[in-house]
Amino acid sequence: MTMQRSIKFLLDPSARPFVIMAGALVVLALMDRGTGYFFSVGTVYSVMQLFATLGLVALGLGLSMLVREFDLSVASIVGLAGSIAVITGVAHPWLGVLLGVGAGALSGTLQGLIMTRLGLSSVGVTLGGLLTLQGITYVLTANQTVSYPNMAVALGLNAPIAHLLSVRSVAALTVFVVAALVMTFTHIGRDIIATGSDRRASRIAGLNTDRVIIGVFAASGASAALAGVLLDYSLGAASPVALADVLAPAAAAAIVGGVSVVGGRGGPMGIAAGVLTLCILRSGLSAIGVPPYVHDLVTGAILLVIAILDAPDLARRVIAWRLYSAEQRDSAVAGKSS
């Protein structure tokens, strides 16, 4: 009975991100066999650098998934905000941050307005947003890599703090902590969960769900934009190359982090754990010398298992098949005896 209960706990969605992360750590530690490549200061630092970019994008996407929508446009907001910051923030880096994040929040708000006012689905609108924002990025950068001459900012952002963190990863962590506090202790968090769980019921209960959705998309845009600004500042260049590759890992991180694709379940701390798991897998596997494709295979396998475990018809199918095979066995036995 305790066995069953502990399995139930391990499979519980709210505990899942931490269980998977612990599993990844144990497996990597075992594979490392005490050589110390995995448990090194350098690995932690590189995990946190990855976290700074992927985490903020995953947070934005995860928030939109919480209200049962899907913000595809985060992929191009990263590039757009980075380009705006690099172009405008040469003399005053803070101005670049402000304009970049502002552009992200604005495009999120606009898409949210279009969705709620016209009653459209988020996939269609944010797909259009993805293409349009990518186009704006191409126009702004004239389709060339724009370099950022203010190297002091780049070096400052990446300078290690206590060997483990950098200004960039501290900024990302701060955003996560703020998001978690807002989600837990203010009515905004409850409104978001309510909207994602049952939008009609929330509206009947007097919640302005349209405003919640617009707010979520604005926050999602701002979060992805901050990721782009920090990334391009620290790279010292903005490249117009489409960062569509960021979308799949970000969605994967949010889902590993326990955000339900049908809305209403999940939170910033879970998303952070999900992102950390993916970053640990990527840095850890390369630190102990495993070829890079293993990372993709492992991520894919984890996602596949989650997809199957979360599938609403899994139990029904398994029971039906069991009954069917039992029936077959019985009839085979009956056939033999007669």
Binding site: L131, G300, D310
Partner: protein
């Protein structure tokens, strides 16, 4: 008569909105046509052939995506990777002859994508989540199999795909064949009708005793086959392949599907609409190119138009 009055009663309230949308659509098509025809060089044989070739690669994927969207499963993020992977399979097995290689690539795309469809159909697993898992596995598996190297053809015979038949590029013939076969499956086979039914109401489909799961699995299988066709065409065009050649095709394909007017929630749409969507996007791009807009502006204007068309369609459909 009764039927028409019932129809009127049901549509009461947004009949006018529908007329407005219809008028706007008509004007948009007319504007696009006159804009295109008045562009110098648009009607030249060279540019039309280039247009046909350009739409074929994305067009095949878009036809496949139509089936996924129609059954109510929004989109698959793995189709671009499926295109690349089946191109690799085709090139690697080319030494066995062109037809076996083609069939092998086709079978590969069908099995990989049908497996995803099986999970979505039989377990009702989330389609986007399953497709991201498929994407990761495809990228990892391809890197494992190829060691990250480019794949060069193991045999000859790629010229078959580069020629022309009766002045039409062979590539375009493959695309048209895909469109025709797709539309025939959708409107003339039982499983095709079931797919549309599943998209408009899964519960009703199950309630009348039809297997929604099988229709969804078959829809994914067709999507995989279409992606494999696109992969083979791309491989033949470039003469070599890696996992990059299909990148972004999933987004381009879903854009074409939505511009064509297939509903994102499923249950309404067709392969022919997707053909229109592919053509509209391609014509806009060619016209902008011929009129001398820079690459960047072309991209931006196309994006805005796609956004506008998607909004227009969905406003018209809204109840």
């Amino acid at each position: 008569m009764i039927q028409s009055s019932l129809r009127g009663r049901f549509q009461f309230g947004n009949v006018r909105a529908r007329h407005v949308v219809l008028a706007v659509r008509g004007i948009a098509v007319l504007a696009l046509a006159s804009f295109a025809l008045s562009t110098p060089g648009f009607t030249s044989l060279l540019s039309i052939n280039a247009l046909l070739t350009a739409i074929s690669f994305i067009g095949c994927v878009a036809v496949g995506m139509t089936f996924i969207t129609l059954t109510g499963n929004i989109m698959s993020l793995a189709l671009g990777a499926t295109v690349s992977a089946s191109a690799l399979v085709f090139l690697a097995s080319l030494s066995a002859g062109i037809l076996p290689a083609f069939l092998l690539a086709l079978a590969f795309g069908m099995v990989i994508t049908a497996a995803q469809g099986f999970l979505v159909g039989y377990f009702r697993a989330n389609p986007i989540l399953v497709s991201i898992a498929g994407l990761s596995l495809l990228i990892g598996g391809a890197a494992f199999a190829t060691g990250g190297q480019r794949i060069y053809p193991g045999g000859a015979g790629l010229t078959v795909f580069k020629g022309r038949v009766a002045g039409i590029p062979t590539v375009a013939l493959f695309f048209f064949a895909t469109v025709i076969v797709g539309q025939l499956i959708l409107s003339w086979t039982r499983i095709g009708r079931v797919m549309v039914m599943v998209g408009s109401n899964v519960r009703a489909t199950t309630a009348v005793g039809v297997s929604a799961a099988r229709a969804i699995t078959v829809a994914y299988m067709i999507a995989g086959a279409c992606s494999a066709v696109s992969g083979v065409l791309l491989a033949a065009r470039y003469g070599s392949g890696d996992m990059e050649i299909g990148t972004g095709y999933d987004y381009a394909a879903i854009a074409a599907v939505l511009v064509g007017g297939t509903s994102i929630t499923g249950g309404s749409g067709s392969v022919l609409r997707t053909l229109v969507g592919v053509a509209v996007i391609a014509i806009i791009e060619v016209v902008l190119l011929l009129r001398g807009f820079s690459d960047q502006l072309q991209y931006l204007i196309t994006g805005i138009i796609v956004l506008g068309v998607i909004m227009l369609h969905t406003v018209g459909e809204r109840r």
